[in-house]
């Protein structure tokens, strides 16, 4: 049969009473109780020196896979079929759906920084191509390319929330196009997610191939 400590002895263990404050008949029980809690081992526990490296190795992997997931989300094909021969009313509806999808894409939260990228939405003669650049410190980002005669003002990117991601969606004709991002009106940046080619003037341009099946970087 177990015998619990007297409530006053428990107060002693809690530090609310001293041994001298206990009634004489409880002092032996109190002394025993103090031996019990006096047996605790308060030696500091020091973990392996390698723990920091192990944690950081996992953290780096998780950070990379998070970026990959965000990247996959951005680059996953989302087809929007625009049927050019439809009657005007249906055509307007299709456009509204396309605009809605584009809006959703733009408003979706970017949980981690993502590299620049593009996604596609297919149409019969042109394709909506979404361009994305992660530039958290930028004040202005534009897209210039062969499709807009390298006009710095023709295709500004919009900031997607406060995540540092800038995006724009353009309808590009079928064919191959060279492009680059222009940050703050002066810094030309090739798409980090696409292979770049030398433009013959010391700059690097990215390439995108647009077909009726979609768009892909070259």
């Amino acid at each position: 049969m177990s015998l619990g400590y007297h409530p006053l002895v428990k107060q002693l263990l809690d530090g609310e009473l001293s041994l001298a404050e206990l009634p004489p008949e409880l002092r032996a029980e109190g002394a025993e109780a103090l031996r019990l809690v006096g047996a605790v081992d308060r030696t500091p526990v020091v973990l392996s020196p390698a723990l920091d490296d192990r944690v950081m190795a996992v953290v780096r992997r998780h950070a990379a896979s998070r970026t990959r997931r965000a990247w996959h989300w951005v680059t996953a094909p989302r087809d929007v079929e625009l049927r050019l021969r439809l009657r005007p009313l249906v055509w307007a509806g299709a456009l509204a759906i396309a605009a809605g999808v584009a809006l959703l894409l733009l408003r979706a939260p970017a949980v981690t920084p993502v590299p620049a990228s593009l996604v596609r939405s297919g149409a019969r003669d042109s394709v909506f191509v979404r361009f994305v650049l992660y530039a958290p410190g930028a004040r202005h980002v534009a897209l210039a390319g062969t499709f807009n005669q390298w006009d710095l003002n023709a295709a500004p990117l919009a900031r997607a929330g406060s995540s540092g991601v800038w995006t724009t969606t353009l309808a590009l004709p079928v064919g191959q196009h060279q492009y680059a991002f222009v940050v703050d009106g002066e810094r030309w940046v090739a798409d980090p997610a696409a292979p770049a080619i030398d433009d013959g003037f010391g700059r690097r341009n990215s390439m995108v191939a647009v077909t009726i099946r979609g768009a892909r970087t070259l």
């Binding site: 400590y5 409530p7 025993e32 019990l36 500091p44 526990v45 020091v46 973990l47 950081m56």
Partner: protein, 183 residues
């Protein structure tokens, strides 16, 4: 912002969330040992405690965006570690593997300055702690090993002082029963 080691938790958390993943090493280094004793005592083994701390630090990184008060990162990390310890105990119970009461990594080592009787009592207490409920064990560890007051334990765990005292007083009775040959 100061040097990495001088930066506040809040500054480091914001930097990591801003994409500076390597800055997380500051928090890892800062907190790796702070809760190690708690984890080791809760799980009855140094190895299990180390696994729990490692896992908690990784989980904290994964959920860092949920840390609403970055200046209270330490308390937030403790809650993650605490959940991890409770989950580990539940998992072991499901698998029929109770805490290892033989584990000598946490149990008192032989002390040149201690008597045989004291050392035996220390080991007996470590073994006895494994027989408490997780809640009783936690309040005992936090009060008598970590040296926290009831109101501090309440602040960390979210329990009321009254319920903590009730758990502790039951733990005293249970420990007295388990330790009767050593007192």
């Amino acid at each position: 912002m100061g040097l990495a080691g001088d930066a506040t938790d809040s500054e480091v958390v914001r930097a990591v969330l801003g994409g500076e993943v390597e800055r997380y090493a500051v928090l890892v280094h800062r907190y790796r040992d702070r809760y190690a004793r708690y984890a080791a005592r809760m799980l009855g083994s140094l190895d299990a405690g180390e696994d729990a701390v490692q896992d908690a630090l990784v989980r904290a990184f994964d959920r860092l965006a949920d840390c609403r008060e970055p200046d209270k990162f330490a308390g937030w990390l403790f809650l993650i570690l605490r959940n991890r310890c409770y989950a580990e105990r539940r998992r072991r119970q499901r698998e029929g593997r109770p805490l290892d009461e033989r584990d000598d990594a946490v149990a008192a080592a032989d002390r040149p300055d201690g008597t045989f009787e004291q050392t035996e009592r220390m080991r007996a207490l470590e073994r006895s702690l494994t027989h408490l409920t997780p809640e009783q064990r936690e309040v005992f560890v936090l009060k008598h090993i970590e040296g926290l007051a009831y109101d501090e334990i309440a602040g960390r765990t979210g329990a009321t002082v009254a319920s903590l005292k009730m758990r502790m007083h039951r733990a005293y009775d249970r420990l007295r029963d388990l330790m009767k040959e050593h007192l």
